[in-house]
Amino acid sequence: MVIFRIVEMTSRAVGTSWPAELAAVLGPDSVITDPARLRTYECDGLTGYRVVPAAVALPRSTEEVAAAVGVCARHGISFVARGAGTGLSGGALPVADGIVISLQRLRRILHVDPVNLRAVVEPGVTNLDISRAAASHGLYYAPDPSSQQVCTIGGNVAENSGGAHCLKYGFTVNHVLAAEVVLADGTVTTLGGQSQHLPGFDLLGAFVGSEGTLGIVTQVTVRLLAKPAQVRTMVADFATVAAAGDAVTAIVAAGIVPAAVEMLDNLAIQAVGASTRSVYTADTAAALVVELDGPPDDVAELFDDVQRICRDQGSTKIMVAADAEERALIWQGRKAAFAAVGRISPNYFVQDGVVPRGRLAEVLGRIAAMADEAGIRVANVFHAGDGNLHPLVLYSEADGEHDRAERLSTEIAELCVELGGSLSGEHGIGADKACSMPRMFGEDDLATMLRLREAFDPAGLCNPGKVFPTPRLCGERPGPYRPHPLETAGVIERL
């Protein structure tokens, strides 16, 4: 039996005529109200939280998105934008009595501009399709979430998504030049522009990563990069997770910036091994995937350096991908790891906290200890190079482990904050971690962020109940504020 958490988030006022009005502006085939079909939209990738919306709108253009939002604004209806629904923090979780606005029909690639190194696309275009469209020019779109075959660029902008290669290339926010946005009052505006120089403050930068709470993206201009001349990839095995963590720290400290440094622990390797033609050593405690890319001479020299560092740190075996096919196998295993974990455990939670890169070994040790104590298995497969953990907390709903696993999962995220890091590196706060926000930020910090929200959406209709703790979600007193460890250490001050 599966127990779902039904999160109560209700729109403020529900008029009577709005579904008809919505159907009138979008056409009846663009509005879903049939309860059976609505269930498709009840959750995102965080399936433990489910809410059936009152309606789903499927606009085809910016004008139609604006019209749908306009109906919401007039009737005081909450709305939630939705891309592919692969989000892992409940960001696209509907609001009861509110509507979901799906961007799936806005999926045109409007323009690939190899001269200016950019592309203009609609929000429903998948991340990978941008790179596919740019490939004939020798270009690609750099941020590469593991979900890139399905997740949309609109969702990437909303979450400021990362990926394995963000270590060298940066995150979504570093690759978006402009966005056309429908604001909560139904007006359309453009944030950003053609150039890195724009007078006024950086509204686009603040919008990216705002988790759908400041407006709906209807068009995105992204930067494209030239494909690197050379790519080299290795898998280095280690006898302990701590040794692998120390190797990552040593690579970073040596001033080498690999394109990617990913770690899989033994449990993750077992999961991958069970499902694909695995290139990973079945019984190693941990493996690092290190990829370098760039000009050939630079890559050759640094690739040798990385191998030497791994050996110095006690690597038990280094496997260098001989060709593109072997490299693809390495990445296939890595990118399929989440899905593969489903085969060794009926249920799991994913966390995505971040720690300073000098503390990787320490945090992995503490997670293992916490997992032991809770009697729950935790698999680790993550973006080690930028300190972004993805502990997969494995449990069985049927065996009643849900609450224990959820508690452990939250504790891990909060441990990252305690170690001077963050609750989330790329998946977002969403509905999942909103109640943990007071662990990381004080009341004034959150109140100041809300000033931005109020400037964009004074009526609070745009994806309410996400990111920020609310009494409804977290109880009257959302988790006590404890001084941030950096504060205790005198590194940061709060007055």
Binding site: N174, S195, P199, S210, D297, D298, S422, S424, G425
Partner: protein, 401 residues
Amino acid sequence: MSAIVTTYRPADLAELRDALTESARAGQRLAVAGTGTAQWGGLVDADAVVDTTAMTGLISYNPTDMTVAVRAGTRLADLQEVLAEHRQWVALDPARATAEGGTVGGIVATADAGPSRHQFGGSRDSVIGMTVVLADGTVARSGGHVIKNVAGYDLAKLFHGCLGTLGVVAEVVLRVHPRPAATATLAVACPAREAFTLGGRLIAESLEPAAVEWTCTRPRGPGLAQRAEAAREQRDGTLLVRFDGTTNGVADRLRRARALAGEHAAEGTPEHWQKAGRLAVGAPGDTVLRLGTAPDQVAQLVMDVDRLAATHAVDAAMTSTLFAGVHTVRLRDAPAAAHAAVVESLRMAHSAATVCRWAPDLRNELAPWGDPPPAVSLLRAVKRRFDPDDRLCPGRFAPWF
């Protein structure tokens, strides 16, 4: 500007908070100044000034984590010196940092950046955390000390380019990068159009340049129009391409780039970059304008600048970060009215223009800003939420807000 009667010179966050609380009680309108080098945008009409230059020094620096936290009044150049001891740097090189001692907070607030923005973006891309004090004394922190972090809104982005109008930046956390083992510059004498094409080729060949800048010092003195014409036909202007990496890698890429660039290519020197930097900063008496365009508009912009400089008998020089679409135009000599005419015409064609340095009397001839960006109503709405009484740097963004 009304007479400034009060100067606040806080040394840390607590004193800054107290200064803002006190000034709020007194209802003072505040100007904010770092080294006081930037005059970007409109003239501020204030009763008191917050001078951040005593808020200096590192708060934390752990080279292994590759992040550093500093007080906002720290000079970027001083910070770079400390980082250099560990073979690291903040990937920001606005000319103002070395020429005029620009502070970290000031550089963030002006969104200033230099040639390295080609690879690393601007300060928005290097800042990972920030503590600010709002007009009412509220202390707010966002971001953190790790390079990857999506928890909460990124308020640091909002303060990027705010010119002190949203709050005072107190502390900044930056990501740092390793200093490359080697670096080299290719210098090619060529006009803008060729520079853009060649730069594009070097990128397409995956030579991964760290900076692609085109600079040009226009001829000056009498007979300007004819000489500008002649200069355009000659190979005026210089493309500067910097390669960072390993010793062998950089040597190899420089060699291949030279081969692609042809007969006008040579190895560039630090002096090349210093010249571009001096141009971007300007000197007292100059007007300096920063413009944004789509990258491929550079040749058109150069033609416009040429034509306007000739028409109004102004000495115009220019440096462009080609693929970021960022151009800095320096106007020299000629009366303020001539500078104003050039700027007005450029604004008409390219609205994203900021005057960073004002020639004497230019403010009498020219509005602080041109046409507002499409999202101006959002800029206003944010301003109203952060500083409802319009006490911080009033006039900076006049007439937009």
